[in-house]
Symmetry: C2
Subunit: 707 residues, 2 copies
């Protein structure tokens, strides 16, 4: 198969198969949309050929007429005829095709057969196929509109590419981006994705110099690792902003079990973020992010400081409030900066950060330049209502040198026509213009996340030494079912701290262990077959005396093996697991212990394996992360230590193809660091399964009270 999508998206010639003159027909809409295309162009209508009008009886005839310059065939024929038309197009020399029709996979067994035929023709001929079930694509730079939506032909050319699961969303996002003052380099609706997938288009865009940023919309992911690789490749060169559908499918936490923590919406978002995409919540945030990221990109860094200059206090406060909520630092300005500002602004204005200019005066450009030049300010956000009497915002921004070398986002408030005029001038100067505080806050967040993500992935720029360190050398999980002691011994071998313990074959050994360890100890049943020890009375905590030990052993029952273990100090319990999930393969999951955290599905996810630096960022994604930072005088989590444990566990799973899951629950944060209080290692099922299984997870139990 030819991986090159140039014949699809930048064809020398296009032929519409099933072209029609009947208004309302797909073949008529496509012929009309493609009419302005300046390259070679032909229509095919077997029943009403009219060569004088460029309508031929067959693709072969059209190709002959156009001397083989046909690259792309646009098929406007119903599903049953598509495979044959595709084969004809391929035979006539077309290297790419677009099928818009429905009636394939979604239409029952007969449709599935049509889909199989299409796939077969594509595979056998090597022709690349976009669709079916899509409204097509457009490449405004080339005057190429392979979409039946009429307005698509009027989208202005620009820098942003759209790769959408759905043709409708491709159009909607492109229109939204244009409404925000942007242009489109390429807009693609993947549709059913029988051949060309989002990953393919991303690979194409990595090489496309016209595109400076990419919008990605996903509904389902056919191949996780492939998509991740493609996003990683594009994101290294240009920003990718991703919107993933499917949140509400897992929204009903009441019904969901721990298994829900790894469902595709969350995992897909985590995977995309890890690969370098900026992940957004809705299409407006996507537009805001791309309006900024298509024009400017901060250098890689963990916590770029935001300077805010506002001509009106109230909107500036809305912006600062959102930045604070998003955890974006709004640093105090240096005394040098403040001294300079005091000479530019009236005495009563607030001159720290935000800088509130009051009604902007002729010094506004110097206020912008001065604030942007502060050592703590990496990115500037500017708000002003249009007031022609007092300041021309676009001119001030230019005079202040805002743009690629002095990154800034600017909000212009005012009547729509004033805003549009100012925005166009700002965009021409390379300064992203947004429509309000919320939009600007979205843009700022996207710029910061992009810079932070690149720093964490080790791109040039600052890197917090606290996040560094190496994962422990990975070693594979030993074969066979492992009981708690064996699991902990394996973890200890990976450099993960576990409590002092003794595996005991009988009561005498248990008593000996108590004497050796001293009280209090935990006494547990030791049996790899028992996953829910607490529920069968198999866990006894705080055992101090021989008498108490006998009570515990009696309760566990005779003819058992026992684990006698030193009690850990009090602390905060985490859950850390690595497991294999559908579509994406091995993932790391980290959360806090306790049912509330679980009910909230408050969990951070990463694809495995991963570097320590990346793993070290997981705790800060947790909503309840305050518990890890000295809550009520408790211990503070060393992120680097956590990163080393998580990355080590991830490497261990990667090295153990016969292991489905390793879970440490709880992993306790104590004043002395992390310690694994219980661990379960689940082997892969030995019977081959039709799909990658989602292993069950032991439920948090009273062992959380292990104190």
């Amino acid at each position: 198969m030819d991986l090159n999508l140039t014949p699809l998206f930048a064809p020398e010639g296009v032929v519409v198969i099933g072209a029609s003159r009947q208004a309302g027909k797909l073949g008529a809409a496509m012929a009309r949309s493609l009419a302005p295309f300046p390259g070679a162009r032909a229509l095919v209508n077997a029943r009403r050929p009219d060569p004088a009008e460029g309508v031929y009886a067959s693709v072969a005839e059209a190709a002959a007429y156009l001397e083989g310059r046909l690259d792309l065939a646009v098929l406007c024929v119903p599903a049953p005829g598509c495979a044959e038309a595709l084969a004809e197009a391929a035979a006539a020399g077309c290297r790419a095709a677009l099928v818009c029709s429905g009636g394939f996979g979604e239409a029952g067994p007969e449709g599935e057969e049509y889909a199989d035929e299409l796939r077969r023709v594509a595979r056998e001929t090597g022709i690349r196929l976009l669709g079916p079930n899509t409204s097509g694509f457009f490449a405004p730079h080339l005057g190429l509109t392979a979409s039946f939506v009429p307005a698509a032909g009027q989208l202005p050319a620009g820098d942003i590419a759209v790769v959408a699961a759905s043709g409708g969303v491709n159009h909607a996002l492109s229109f939204d981006l244009v409404a925000a003052g942007n242009g489109i380099s390429l807009g693609v609706g993947i549709g059913a994705g029988l051949d060309v997938t989002a990953a393919d288009v991303l690979e194409h865009l990595a090489e496309d110099d016209r595109t400076t940023a990419v919008a990605l919309h996903l509904e389902t992911v056919p191949d996780g690792p492939r998509l991740v690789a493609a996003v990683r490749r594009v994101a290294a060169a240009k920003p990718v902003v991703a919107l993933v559908v499917g949140r509400s499918d897992i929204g009903d936490f009441a019904r969901s079990h721990t298994g829900a923590l790894a469902t595709s919406w969350r995992t897909t978002r985590a995977a995309l973020r890890q690969a370098g995409a900026v992940v957004v919540d809705d299409e407006r945030e996507l537009v805001d992010a791309l309006t900024a990221l298509s024009r400017i990109r901060l250098r890689p860094q963990l916590a770029p400081g935001l300077g805010i200059v506002t001509a009106q206090a109230g909107p500036g406060l809305l912006l600062a409030d959102r930045a604070g909520t998003d955890g974006i630092p709004v640093p105090e300005l240096s005394t040098t900066t403040r001294r300079a500002l005091s000479e530019l602004l009236p005495p009563l204005t607030y001159q720290r950060n935000p800088v509130d200019t009051g009604r902007p005066a002729e010094t506004f450009d110097r206020v912008l330049a001065t604030t942007a030049a502060d050592p703590a300010v990496v990115l500037l956000a500017v708000y002003a209502l249009t007031e022609p009497d007092s300041v021309d915002l676009a001119s001030a921004a230019q005079a202040a040198g805002l743009g690629a070398d002095s990154p800034a986002v600017v909000v212009v408030g005012g009547l729509p026509e004033d805003v549009t005029e100012q925005r166009a001038r700002l965009h021409k100067a390379g300064v992203p213009a947004l429509t309000g505080p919320a939009a600007a806050a979205n843009a700022v967040r996207a710029l910061v996340r992009d810079a932070r993500g690149r720093a964490l992935r080790g791109e040039a720029g600052e890197m917090s030494p606290a996040l560094g360190g190496e994962a422990h050398a990975s070693s594979p999980v030993p074969a066979g079912p492992l009981d708690e002691d064996a699991a902990k011994t394996f973890l200890a071998g990976l450099g993960i701290r576990t409590p002092d313990r003794v595996a005991c074959d009988d009561r005498a050994q248990a008593h000996q262990a108590l004497r050796r360890l001293g009280g209090p100890v935990a006494v547990k049943v030791l049996d790899a077959a028992i996953l829910h020890k607490t529920e069968i009375g198999g866990v006894h905590l705080g055992v101090r005396t021989a008498e108490e030990l006998d009570v515990a052993l009696d309760a566990i029952g005779p003819d058992r093996r026992y684990l006698v273990e030193a009690m850990a100090p009090a602390g905060v319990d985490l859950v850390l697991g690595v497991r294999r999930v559908p579509v994406f393969g091995p993932v790391v999951l980290a959360g806090l212990g306790g049912t509330a955290a679980e009910a909230l599905a408050d969990v951070a996810i990463r694809l495995a394996p991963l570097p320590v630096t990346e793993a070290a960022t997981m705790p800060d994604e947790l909503a309840a992360r305050a518990l890890l930072d000295g809550w009520r005088g408790g211990p503070v989590l060393d992120r680097a230590e956590f990163g080393r444990v998580a990355a080590t566990l991830a490497a261990a799973l990667a090295a153990s193809p016969r292991t489905a899951e390793i879970e440490i629950n709880p992993l306790r944060l104590t004043a002395d660091g992390l310690i694994a209080l219980d661990a379960v290692i689940v082997p892969m099922p030995t019977v081959p399964m039709p799909t990658v299984p989602t292993p069950t997870v032991p439920t948090p139990t009273k062992e959380n009270d292990h104190a």
Copy 2:
């Protein structure tokens, strides 16, 4: 003081004091903005009067010339001269004034003096004063622009009023509302609010027939109960959509203690919601909400069903996904509806809900009407890209009868000019038009929240019987400090279940109590002075035998009183408290037990007192509410029972002016219902305090493990 704000917002005549000809001066900008005002109009410039040009030497002279028709004085003089100018204006018969200048309260002691003088003049003369520190207001219907922002004069007249804490935000919101196709009835920036407050303007708007919906922006609240009363009054007649600033001030949960649960951002939002406002997160959501709520309002009901009709599957899915995330029901359509749709749509389209029409055909209007008529559909959301060949969306919506009687929100996708044209026609027909799936989802959520809020407040419409019931008759808290037993006895008197217990004066009584209650019991130190019993070893759980009791009593120490109490069955722990907070007074707080819930500040807040129906909705606001609905086979919370307990506690605080706080922690949800396992009643400090105190709260302790 004259409460009537008509002289301010609808004056017969206006005078600009400190008018200027010098461009860039406030007095020049205001004179220009007010020039188009069709009523009586005069300028005052003491140094350069020019009566031929309508510029007088004093307000008195201007008033004489205009035969007393001056109602409103716009003061464009620096802070030091404002009080004198205000007095002159009042003496000349003006009943209202606007002061835009800064230099008052925010400018140190001198400015505070100027502010005091302004207040004094207003109080003594009865003149109503808007400002200072505001860019003013505008009333487009009257051609009245009392703002120095030039574009404000071009805002179209319409139905939506804006009441903003900040003049800049008043303008920004008004421009945003206009950009979304709306008009403005009145836009007001409160500024420093020395006299006229947001509550005053709301009271004015309750009577203003031109206004169909109100945007409210708040930074600080001077008088909580007054604001709540005003919102309640307006919201009963027309929707109020509120945006509250200050989220990030309390964002740092790590530093915050339980006290943070009641800080003003959360409490203000809760109070506004309870009073009937729809509370939003940012200004875009505010615009979306008002675009809908200014045109349509659903009848009061708890869970209106959403029907979705989309011409493109992808954007419809985005909309359905958000509705699902927001908990808005998207019900299956009836078989009658589906049969009717099957005759209107091609066979392969999805015809349940969402209804995916595929490319819309001439039947689109009937699809809309059919779906809207389904018994389960209360509100319709429609998405379509503009495709002039296939459907005219505005005409289809009208033909389908969408509007006030068949509520719907419509998204038109396409090029900005096409969208604007369609939107204008839809708005003319009374159908809110939105710009995309996220905007439509915001509009839907606002409509649903408004309808639900009105149902809960008992307005006509359905009411879930499950939420009904009466609070227990309230009785005041007994005087003096109360120990745990006395606190529980008080709660028991309110009909709140407490464990069987015996207050013991000595060890003998404790042993007698154990014999009476049987094991296991909890043994606690009983002393009203000890708030943190666990921390001093004062709580012993699971005591079964006389020997264990002796160990517990030894640990508590001699010369103590003891509480011996039956252990409660396992369950889910909640925290329920009532307390007095600054600005708003008595509030009810409900959350889940455990540190994770606390770290997340996952708490529902209501002003007290409150009806059972309102209190019963608190648990469903908690993020971790899944724990209350049979988590892992556990008990299900009876909302009505919870509502009765919370409303009863709220009434008790209201009846006890000398009590600062009553907290039940934990309030355990068991299979038998709710039971109060520990309770603290905190009296008001006896020494008068400068401000209303925020009482300290006992931290959750090991008593949470009371099982």
